[in-house]
Each structure stands twice: as C-alpha cells, then as structure tokens.
C-alpha cells in the first residue's frame, strides 16, 4: 500500500472515536451488513460516528481491507482500535460488551 493511502486511512481512523468504513452512509446504508453494524452501534449508545462510504472511494475500499487484514466491509474502529466487522460488532452488542467500549 502506498504511503499516501495509508496516511488517508490513518487520518480517517483518528478522525473520530467511532469510525465505520461502510457501504453507503449511516442514514442510507447500501448493504444489509453495513446497516446492521450501524444499528448495533446506535443501540449501544453511539450518537455520533464518522462514516467512510467505501462505495464513493474505491481506493479506500481496497486499502482498508489490506490495512486491517480483513476482507469484508463494514469495518468498525473505536478509539483507533479495530473492533471487527458486522458479525463481531453485533455479537458484542448482544453480549452487552459494546456499550462499555463506546462509553470509554
């Protein structure tokens, strides 16, 4: 991955406490998995998040997969740390583990 792309990804991850790389936007998700991840975050008390729409940015779409070593979208970062994709975020919410993480 080139340095410029890596820097863009790192800046995106650092831009907010909760960052989601998704298809579409939180209010208009373009994929069921992205929609479920946003829903879980909101249900866990997240009122604000930075969303990166990978459909609008093919470079980021491929770059974030390499950066996180994770082959699918969505991807959630909290406080700069990779939390996981839709399955993990939803499972953490079901177990009540997401809300404490979000509260910090």
């Amino acid at each position: 991955m080139n340095e410029e792309l890596k820097k863009r990804i790192e800046e995106a991850i650092a831009s907010h406490r909760v960052v989601i790389f998704m298809k579409g936007t939180p209010n208009f998700p373009m994929c069921g998995f992205s929609a479920r991840a946003v829903e879980a975050l909101r249900a866990a008390g997240v009122t604000e998040m930075a969303a990166v729409n990978v459909l609008a940015d093919p470079e980021i779409r491929e770059g974030i997969k390499a950066y996180s070593n994770w082959p699918t979208i969505p991807q959630v970062y909290i406080d700069g740390k990779f939390i996981g994709g839709c399955d993990i975020v939803c499972e953490m919410h079901e177990r009540g583990e997401l809300a404490p993480l979000v509260r910090g």
Partner: protein
C-alpha cells in the same frame, strides 16, 4: 456459484479438526452463513478467530464469488456452553 461444501473444504484444510457448518442462506450460492468450532481458537480474540477463517476464503471473497459471509466462531468450550444454554 459456490456450494456449501466448497466453503467447508477450504476452511477444513486451513483449520484441521474444526467442526464447520455452512448454510447457503439465499440458495444463490454467494451468501453463506458459517459456524466454526475449533480448538485452535482458544486464547485468540474474536478478530483473530475470524481472520483465521477468512484467510483460506480470501481469493473467493476478493473475486466476488463469495459475496457475503455471516460468521460465528467458537472454541469447543464456548460452543458447549452455548448449546447448553440454548438446549
């Protein structure tokens, strides 16, 4: 179009001895639900466990042949607790 067996074989090669269940959720051969119970997940984070399952499926995911994968991973003891609770 993939068969559940293709997914199962790829995972089984990477994670020998794992218990794997694959369901074609739409019957279209590109959306799958996968459950993996594996001894080697012991001591790994959930992210690491999922990465271990994704690794052998990487080329299928990258090519788009495998469009969606809903994944749940368990260690044998977690799975035992889970099925006990549900049963």
């Amino acid at each position: 179009m993939l068969a559940p067996n293709d997914i199962e074989t790829a995972i089984a090669e990477a994670l020998p001895g794992a218990e794997i269940e694959v369901v074609d959720t739409r019957g279209t051969g590109d959306h799958f639900q996968v459950r993996v119970v594996y001894e080697g997940f012991e001591g790994k984070t959930m992210v690491e466990q999922h990465q271990m399952v994704y690794a052998p499926l990487r080329s299928l995911l990258d090519s788009g042949a495998l469009h969606a994968l809903a994944l749940r991973t368990f260690t044998p003891s977690q799975w035992k607790a889970q099925t006990g609770a549900e049963g």
